[in-house]
């Protein structure tokens, strides 16, 4: 066991865990944020996607020991306070989720995409989203909702999406 100090969604957490514990299980079972999901454990499905300093990473394959106290970790719960990030609004408008299980990961990938590329074309979306599996097949709506969110951000002039 070792002690780790983590910053998740702007809050500090101090936890004690085995160094090889994946960040996914730290987030879910130590910190208690259940929005981040387990789908494959092998960085194949994207259900566990969170942001590390704004970049999407697969938390199932990120040992807690590789993180530093200065790293900013953001989970689905940290995207907005009132479910009003442009991506979330567009997701609701397009009624994207079916079972919903993959959607936290999809949204984390999409939020990161729009941050680095506020006006993505279909190829950009393919590149950013192909690591996220949706077994329910919501891909057409995800694509539509990303384009819509890009428009929403443009309209609002607020590039953070919030």
């Amino acid at each position: 066991m070792a002690k780790y100090s983590l910053s998740i969604n702007g809050k500090k957490f101090s936890i004690e865990a085995e160094p090889d514990t994946p960040l996914l299980w730290v987030i879910r079972d130590y910190v208690g944020l259940k929005g981040t999901k387990f789908g494959c454990g092998m960085a194949l499905c994207g259900a566990c996607t969170v942001h590390l300093d704004g970049e999407p990473i697969r938390s199932c394959s990120t040992p807690v020991s590789t993180l530093k106290a200065a790293n900013r970790i953001t989970t689905i719960e940290g995207i907005s306070a009132n479910t009003d990030h442009a991506i979330q609004k567009a997701w609701i408008e397009a009624q994207v989720p079916q079972c919903g299980y993959c959607q936290s990961g999809q949204i984390m990938s999409a939020v990161a995409l729009l941050k680095s590329n506020p006006n993505p074309n279909d190829e950009d979306i393919d590149a950013a989203m192909s690591g996220n599996i949706c077994r329910c097949g919501t891909y057409p709506r995800i694509r539509k909702a990303i384009h819509r969110a890009a428009d929403l951000i443009k309209e609002s002039g607020n590039t953070t999406g919030k």
Binding site: M1, A17, E18, D20, T21, P22, W25, D29, Y30, G32, L33, K34, G35, T36, K37, F38, G39, C40, G41, M42, L44, C45, A47, T75, I76, E77, I79, S80, T83, I87, Q88, W91, I92, Q95, V96, P97, Q98, C99, G100, Y101, C102, Q103, S104, I107, I125, D126, M129, S130, N132, I133, C134, R135, C136, G137, T138, Y139, P140, R141, I142, R143
Partner: protein, 727 residues
């Protein structure tokens, strides 16, 4: 929805609805022994007496309205659609109510999400329950105002007196209403007056699915629970000879290493469970286990051998599905002028719902409480009660959202297994399957072979058609039906005379049972997915053999089936079927009815390198009257994606008793980069509602393969195939 509140014991029931004195609850008695469902009033005294009633609507005098959903939601949308049936007739909107899932108790009737049945079977009963309560509330208001009921109407959870404009909220009326008799035959709305049904109302749980707050089975949390990972036999048959857990126990956090079992319907297999205070420790402990397995008999189990057996069985007669309109196939085939034959094979498939199987269970003496993503809580109760040898009323089930299921979560092995562990260690446990467990252990969609013969007479008319369905029977393996001298009556879905009304005077359909040790269960659209691939590919082959356009050939055979022809005509129009395509493009179609809904797809493909690219899918779906057209589209999109995956990605193969695919790198599914343009048209009509969760899947693989034939001349008869290497 949260676990703490979604279970409704009698005490919770009163709590939910506010003051006990003025509770109005409406439900149905169970349709036992063929008795028609009748509407009964449920008052608090009935509740305290524990009458066998089925309450779907609760209204408290504070105005709180609770609607119950009796079909677990795996993404198909029942969390909205069933309450919406109540809300339409009750004159409330979904933002005025709280929705709760039922908990499996018998008084709620069948609660299995399966067979695309939720709306089909609940369409009238739910609406009547809503209408009955509305009538009572109107009557109560009229009485209070001392006016005629005809002058009153209900809207948005209020009753209004038209002439005066006065109104009461439902909460203000509930006490008076609860004293009234429940109307026996409440008047339901004329569909033209629907405000919610057929209108694509946004699903109420969607916000919780974009902000991480939706509670899935895997998110359940019971204070003091321990985490469990289980090593099950790596081969289909396997017994634990011995195991050594000493190294596992040395891992920090590991508390117990115990022998357990996985109880499937047809047999139990041995396993070793590692129990720890974190899931990671349980997984690490599992990796440190040393188990000696006796795999006796497993070496003889392989999917190759299974299919060899199917090919032999296809040479036999099988057992015929009886149908008076079937004519005499053998005679007509014998007398025909031209004969065509073909066989089609479809693989075993894993469901791979993105949320792996998991169950949180607490066995306490002769009681158990379960939190798990399950498709059928009502069926689980007697199973668990029998397994633990406790009373059914001591089994308490909490139904969260399922992160996908597709049939897998109607098979309760993972819940029973958690019961076995919790009982042994006398603590609440959460068992989570790894993706590898999910993929390798089954149960799977059974591999099938569909063999066809068709024949034309001298004038070129199609006079004879034979369809042999060869493969494993879910009914036989899961439900123990011996199927002696009879066909599996579930296995003909999607292609029998009832579902496929092609007018061919002599038709035969038979089932050929292949016994297997490989665990099997229904997989989205079940046999319709495998039948329709063969059936609709073979109809296409017959069209080409007759030198006819496949659409015209079908329309010819469907002249007396206007609903089918209309779907095909609409498909032709929307897909621009008759346009001249460039050399490197072609279109193919298929149509299938399953679960009382007709679905047809037109797939456009183009040449790309040595293979083919799926450019576009246009679909027409006729499911009769609709609840949420946008959700019908969503389900059809999902069916197209899952059906294409099943056609061109990996199947499950087993060698020497071991599944060869272990995770998404070996069992690939369609990703964003591979999605064609999709356009879906929902037919608007007044037919009785059909299913929606599955019917879009069966026709997609044959439509794709028919398109590929039109483009390349290559007929694909075995799934899956490599779409990048067609020529």
């Amino acid at each position: 929805m949260s676990f703490e509140t979604n279970h409704t014991s009698r005490r919770d029931f009163l709590k939910i609805s506010g003051k006990t004195s003025a509770l109005l609850a409406i439900g149905f008695s169970l349709p036992i022994a063929g008795k028609a469902e009748e509407i009964k009033k449920l008052d608090t005294s009935a509740l305290s007496m524990g009458l066998e009633l089925n309450p779907y609507i609760l209204i408290s005098d504070e105005g709180k309205i609770t609607l119950f959903n009796a079909r677990p939601d795996m993404g198909q949308g029942t969390y909205q659609s069933l309450p919406l049936l109540l809300a339409e007739e009750l004159e409330v909107t979904l933002d005025q109510v709280e929705i709760r899932n039922t908990d499996g108790q018998g008084k709620y009737g069948s609660q299995l999400s399966g067979g695309s049945s939720s709306i089909r079977t609940r369409w009238m009963p739910m609406r009547k329950a809503g209408a009955a309560v509305k009538e009572m509330l109107i009557k109560a208001a009229a009485k209070k105002w001392n006016v005629s009921e005809a002058e009153c109407y209900a809207e948005k959870a209020k009753v209004f007196h038209k002439p005066s404009g006065k109104s009461y909220t439902y909460g203000e009326l509930v006490e008076e209403a609860s004293k009234l008799e429940v109307p026996k035959d409440p008047k339901i709305k004329d569909p033209k007056d629907f405000k919610l049904l057929g209108k694509s109302v946004p699903r109420p749980e969607i916000p919780s699915k974009v902000n991480g707050t939706a509670v899935f089975g895997i998110d359940s949390n019971v204070p003091g629970m321990l985490f469990v990972s289980i090593e099950r036999s790596p081969t289909i048959l396997g017994k634990v000879i011995s195991f050594d857990g000493s190294e596992a126990l040395r891992i920090k956090g590991v508390k117990h290493v115990i022998k357990t079992e996985r109880k499937m319907p047809h047999r139990a297999v041995e396993a070793v469970a590692v129990v720890a205070d974190t899931y990671w420790a349980a997984l690490k402990g599992r990796r440190a286990l040393k188990i000696k397995w006796d795999a006796e008999g497993s070496d003889k189990i392989s999917t190759d051998k299974y299919f060899e057996n199917l090919r032999e069985l296809a040479k036999t007669e099988g057992f015929e599905y009886k149908d008076d309109k079937a004519g005499d196939f053998a005679k007509a085939f014998g007398e025909s002028a031209k004969k065509v034959e073909a066989q089609y094979e479809t693989p075993f498939l894993a469901h791979a719902p993105l949320e792996p199987e998991n169950a949180t269970v607490w066995v306490q003496g002769d009681k158990v409480e379960i939190w798990a993503p399950i498709q059928g809580p009502d069926g689980l109760i007697p199973q668990v009660a029998g397994y633990l040898n406790i009373k059914p009323e001591n089994v308490k089930i909490n139904v969260p959202f399922m992160g996908g299921a597709f049939g897998r979560k109607a098979y309760n092995d993972y819940v029973m297994e958690a019961c076995h562990v919790s009982k042994q260690i006398k603590a609440p446990v959460k068992v989570i399957w790894t993706r590898e467990d999910d993929m390798t252990q089954g149960p799977f969609r059974p591999g099938m072979l569909n063999a066809f013969q068709g024949a034309f007479d001298a004038k070129g008319a199609l006079t004879a058609y034979n369809h042999k369905i060869v493969g494993g029977s879910i009914q036989h393996q899961v439900f123990g039906n011996p199927l002696k001298n009879v066909p599996d009556d579930w296995a003909g879905e999607g292609s029998g005379l009832g579902d496929s009304p092609y007018e061919i005077p002599n038709r035969r359909q038979s089932f050929h049972l292949a016994e297997t040790d490989i665990p099997i269960v229904w997989w989205r659209s079940v046999y319709a997915s495998t039948n329709a691939f063969g059936h609709e590919s073979f109809i296409d082959e017959l069209a080409h053999s007759a030198g006819m356009d496949p659409l015209a050939f079908r329309l010819n055979l469907l002249a007396d089936s206007p609903r089918f022809s209309r779907v095909l005509q609409k498909l032709a129009q929307k897909s621009d079927y008759h346009q001249k395509l460039p050399e490197n493009k072609a279109i193919g179609i298929a149509i299938a009815r399953s679960f009382a809904t007709i679905a047809a797809h037109a797939v456009t493909v183009s040449k790309q390198g040595d293979g083919v690219k799926i450019e576009k899918v246009v679909s027409v779906i006729d499911c009769g009257m609709t609840v949420n057209p946008d959700n019908i589209k969503a389900q059809t999109e999902g069916n197209i994606v899952m059906g294409i995956t099943a056609a061109i990605k990996n199947g499950i193969t087993i060698k020497e008793g071991k599944t060869e695919q272990t995770n998404f790198h070996e069992y690939n599914v369609l990703r964003m980069t591979e999605i064609p343009a999709i356009e879906i048209y929902v037919v608007d009509n007044m037919e009785a509602p059909g299913g929606v969760g599955e019917p879009g899947l069966p026709p997609i693989a044959p439509a794709l393969c028919n398109a590929i034939f039109n483009l390349t001349g290559k007929r694909i008869r075995t799934l899956p195939f490599d779409i990048d290497k067609i020529v």
